[in-house]
């Protein structure tokens, strides 16, 4: 079983956590990733910084700018991934970002580099199923999961196309909007997750706007995973290189809430 499949087969819903690579600088990222794992994160999303993060809200935009201002390169990100894989052989690692940095040296180069670094999956915000040829085949050939996004605007007619060629897990973007801003109504999340789970055997993780343990628990009652990003990035922005301790404390509060959510329903 793949690392991603194992993470979603645990006895509690998966806590999926996002940070931007190289924020606030490259040397700080490994300790922050370790802090996520120490706090109980089940899946790590490592953001590849981009100059033009057009799907991101202010918190992650600022993280991208901090990282690039510090000189983060693609080689740095791959080294961070490789180091993480060495320290944490069983925790799945997913790269998330935009098409241009991923495709710069060609999709085959990128997929091979990720394979060598021990990366499990890729979320590319601006490669929809219609443009799968640009990246998907190379990832699949290298055994890396192309993780697809579904949104409130993905209707029943379109969903099969989104699921075709998807693997790892399905990321439900719970609000039509950018990262970190608003939180969706729980009822709309419940409805969407039920609809998605009826259409796929892939685990369904829900993200965008999730900040509190209570929100995470509400989502964990129905979804296979909860994604938290901007709130962690804000802690890193506030604490800089001293962030790991604060990150671990925060992640533990989320992990406890997610774990207890399933016990309530079980």
């Amino acid at each position: 079983m793949s690392r991603l499949a194992t993470a979603f087969a645990k006895d509690h819903p998966a806590l999926v956590t996002f940070v931007t690579a190289g924020d606030p600088h490259v040397a700080a990222t490994p300790a922050i990733l370790d802090a996520l794992v120490a706090g109980g994160a089940d899946v790590i999303e490592l953001g590849m910084p981009f100059t033009d993060p057009m799907a991101d809200g202010p918190a992650i935009q600022a993280a991208n700018i901090r990282s690039l201002a510090g000189g983060t390169t693609t080689a740095d990100i791959l080294a961070i991934a490789r180091g993480f894989r060495d320290r944490h052989p069983h925790v799945p690692l997913v790269l998330m970002g935009y098409a241009n940095p991923m495709l710069r040296r060609g999709p085959g180069w990128f997929a091979k580099a990720l394979q060598d670094a021990g990366v499990d999956g890729v979320i590319c915000v601006d490669v929809p199923p219609e443009e799968d040829d640009a990246l998907g085949p190379a990832l699949r050939d290298a055994g890396i999961a192309p993780i697809r996004l579904a949104t409130p605007t993905t209707d029943a007619a379109r969903l099969p196309q989104v699921l075709d060629g998807a693997s790892g897990f399905l990321y439900y973007v719970s609000v039509a909007g950018i990262t970190g801003k608003q939180q969706a109504e729980q009822a709309s999340i419940d409805e969407a997750v039920a609809r998605l789970k009826a259409a796929t055997d892939l685990p369904v993780a829900v993200g965008f706007g999730v900040r509190t343990p209570e929100q995470a628990a509400s989502i964990a009652r129905i979804a296979d995973g909860v994604v938290v990003g901007s709130a962690i990035v804000e802690i890193i922005a506030a604490h800089g290189a001293d962030a790991p301790a604060a990150v671990t404390t925060y992640i533990r509060s989320l992990a406890d809430a997610v774990a207890s959510a399933r016990k309530v329903t079980a």
């Binding site: 390169t73 098409a99 241009n100 940095p101 915000v125 601006d126 640009a134 989104v162 609000v175 909007g177």
Partner: protein, 409 residues
């Protein structure tokens, strides 16, 4: 129908111009982009849509724009040309349109589409403010609320256009993220759009972005080339030997070129902004960039080895963008259109030359085209004809030009 080997049959049904174009957007936007394509196909098949578009272009925009023989400029260039050389120079006068540039052609088409789709709010990005003014204009004309995203630096540099947009009833939102210029304004417009897909239409200002934007903007702007072709035939009973147009995103150029693409004897020259020089800061994506993905399409981009987008520079804010429309990327690769670039200094010289020889103050964007014309005309025979697109007037640029010439006004 187009012949199988036509250059005018792009894009394919996935919105690809060869390797370029496409629909590289977030999933949230994808259904809307597909809706837009369906609605555009319906509009293309609807005679009432075309009739309304044509009527507005005639009576509101002031089309057709004149085709003008620039006799004094032609003569001035012949003085320094070798014997028997010095082509005739003709201009398509799109600077005489309402709002002073070609931008309005596209805005009329897109707002009619927005209304067909039942959208009740309009957003747009702008660099120099010309597309913002054109968008605010059509929004006032049709009574739709309008928000224009503009880089904070550009808001500062282009105060007169900011005031024009506000007079026309638009909200101007200054964008301070990133470098606070055009590409950041476009990022912010996309962020707004993704959060307001239910009621909002994004009027993109150039022939770029996700399919079907490059196609529909080209089609709306092709009125320039269709008119020019008919006017040239009627005035001179021949086609021009060379078409010349400036390129930022490339909408005025593709509008002029597209109706001529299958005329094998008509050469075409697109002129990018070389800024301070191709070895320094510039905005020439084709000359100095590499293929990549930004703002919904695959095209040539100014970027570093890791795919980070680099800042463009041109004295002309309208050319100051690190990408280019995907159809130009394709036309460059297949060799149908030649592309060159012109520096800030060369554009300023051409700007002044046109003022003095023809009594026309051009915008800094077509001043780049004119600079290229001054070089090419001397290398072409006297009985040859160059047609250049004068895509905007220079009122907006007089402060920039004065500063560049060291004049206080």
């Amino acid at each position: 129908m187009n012949a199988p080997n036509s250059f005018r049959a792009q894009p394919d049904d996935r919105g690809h111009f060869g390797d370029y174009g496409g629909r590289y957007v977030a999933e949230t936007l994808m259904p809307l982009v597909l809706d837009l394509e369906r609605e555009y196909r319906a509009a293309q098949a609807d005679p009432a849509f075309k009739a309304q578009f044509d009527d507005l272009l005639e009576h509101y925009v002031g089309r057709p724009s004149p085709l003008y023989y620039a006799e004094r400029l032609t003569e001035a260039l012949r003085e320094s040309a070798p014997d028997g050389m010095g082509a005739e120079i003709w201009f398509k006068r799109d600077e005489l349109n309402h709002t002073g540039a070609h931008k309005i052609n596209n805005c009329i088409g897109q707002i009619l589409l927005a209304m067909r789709m039942g959208k009740t709010r309009i957003i747009a990005e702008t660099g120099a403010g010309q597309h913002g003014v054109a968008t605010a204009t059509v929004c006032a004309r049709f009574g739709l609320p309008c928000t224009i995203f503009m880089g904070a630096k550009d808001v500062e540099r282009q105060a007169p256009n900011v005031f024009r947009m506000k007079l026309l009833g638009a909200e101007v939102r200054a964008v301070s993220s990133g470098a606070a210029t055009l590409k950041d304004a476009m990022n912010e417009a996309l962020r707004d759009w993704v959060a307001n897909v239910h009621d909002t239409f994004y009027i993109i200002g150039t022939a770029a972005g996700p399919h079907p934007y490059p196609e529909l903007v080209r089609d709306f702007q092709s009125v320039i080339g269709r008119e020019a072709r008919a006017q040239m035939m009627s005035r001179t009973a021949r086609l021009p030997d060379l078409l010349v147009a400036a390129i930022g995103g490339g909408s005025n150029a593709i509008g002029l070129f597209h109706p001529f693409l299958d005329d094998a004897d008509v050469a075409m020259l697109g002129v990018e902004a070389a800024g301070e020089g191709l070895e320094a800061k510039h905005a020439a994506s084709l000359a100095g960039g590499f293929p990549g993905v930004l703002h919904g399409n695959k095209t040539y981009l100014l970027q570093d080895d890791d795919g980070q987008i680099t800042e463009a520079h041109s004295i002309s804010a309208g050319l100051d963008y690190p990408g280019i429309g995907p159809e130009h990327a394709w036309l460059k690769d297949i060799g149908r259109v030649e592309y060159t670039s012109v520096t800030d200094t060369e554009a300023l010289d051409a700007f002044q030359l046109l003022c003095r020889t023809e009594g026309i103050i051009p915008a800094l964007e077509p001043a780049h085209a004119i600079a290229a014309v001054t070089k090419r005309a001397r290398e072409m025979k006297r009985d040859q004809v160059i047609l250049a697109n004068l895509c905007g007037r220079g009122d907006k640029d007089i402060f920039t030009v004065a500063e560049a010439l060291g004049v206080a006004i």
